[in-house]
Symmetry: C2
Subunit: 132 residues, 2 copies
């Protein structure tokens, strides 16, 4: 998916996520953007849908929240699997990718005769700084 020019709302949501320390829920984003004229959840969700489609943003299923993609390349991990560590202490999210896991998962799933459309890998725990 090539990334077209973002619309005003998409840019505002992207900016909010990019400048955030950690993940944000759609409603948290909404609150951050009220001063820029946002009034309703759909304004956020519609922008997020596009940003997810362009690969600029990831959804964290276990948090019902969103983060900006930190992948160094051109968000071309369409084919690849994206994984996250999520610290319960400080909220820090780290995105990472690994071909070995991709290939192993792919083989296991193929053995089930299953066709993958989207893979979610999220690891909850504590980062080095927050470990008790």
């Amino acid at each position: 998916m090539a990334t077209p020019q973002l619309t005003k709302n998409q840019s505002l949501v992207m900016g909010a996520l990019a400048h955030s320390e950690g993940p944000m829920s759609a409603y948290t984003i909404l609150d951050k953007l009220r001063d820029q004229g946002f009034r309703a959840p759909l304004q956020v969700y519609r922008a997020l849908d596009k940003l997810l489609e362009y690969g600029l943003v990831h959804r964290l299923e276990s948090l019902n929240a969103f983060v900006a993609c930190t992948c160094p390349h051109d968000h071309e991990h369409d084919r690849g699997v994206t994984a996250f560590t999520i610290c319960e202490g400080c909220g820090q999210v780290t995105e990472f990718h690994d071909e070995a896991i991709e290939e192993r998962l792919s083989a296991l799933v193929r053995a089930q005769n299953f066709k993958t459309e989207k893979t979610t890998i999220e690891i909850r725990g504590h980062c080095g700084s927050c470990a008790a």
Copy 2:
């Protein structure tokens, strides 16, 4: 976590999940159990909390839904990682486990100096019967 005797509510929720074809949301479970006297979401959520703790039930984060554990052993996958394929067509959920993925993930996470508490792996797609 040893599995104590289930209470009445826990048994009812467990039964509903065990006899279901696929995953169920807490509110769907509630509706199924109204005839057995269930009246409020908390009755379901409290039972689910315990069943999750005992390892008899898994939560599917990408669906906000729950499934009975199909693991053949005594639900002793406390140490292990549980993964799921989830068919968007028929709703079928297949639970599986793989040591190679566990070890690879474990190594990657350790390299981040991160302490894992819970790992979520969910693969959305289409099963063999439902593949377009």
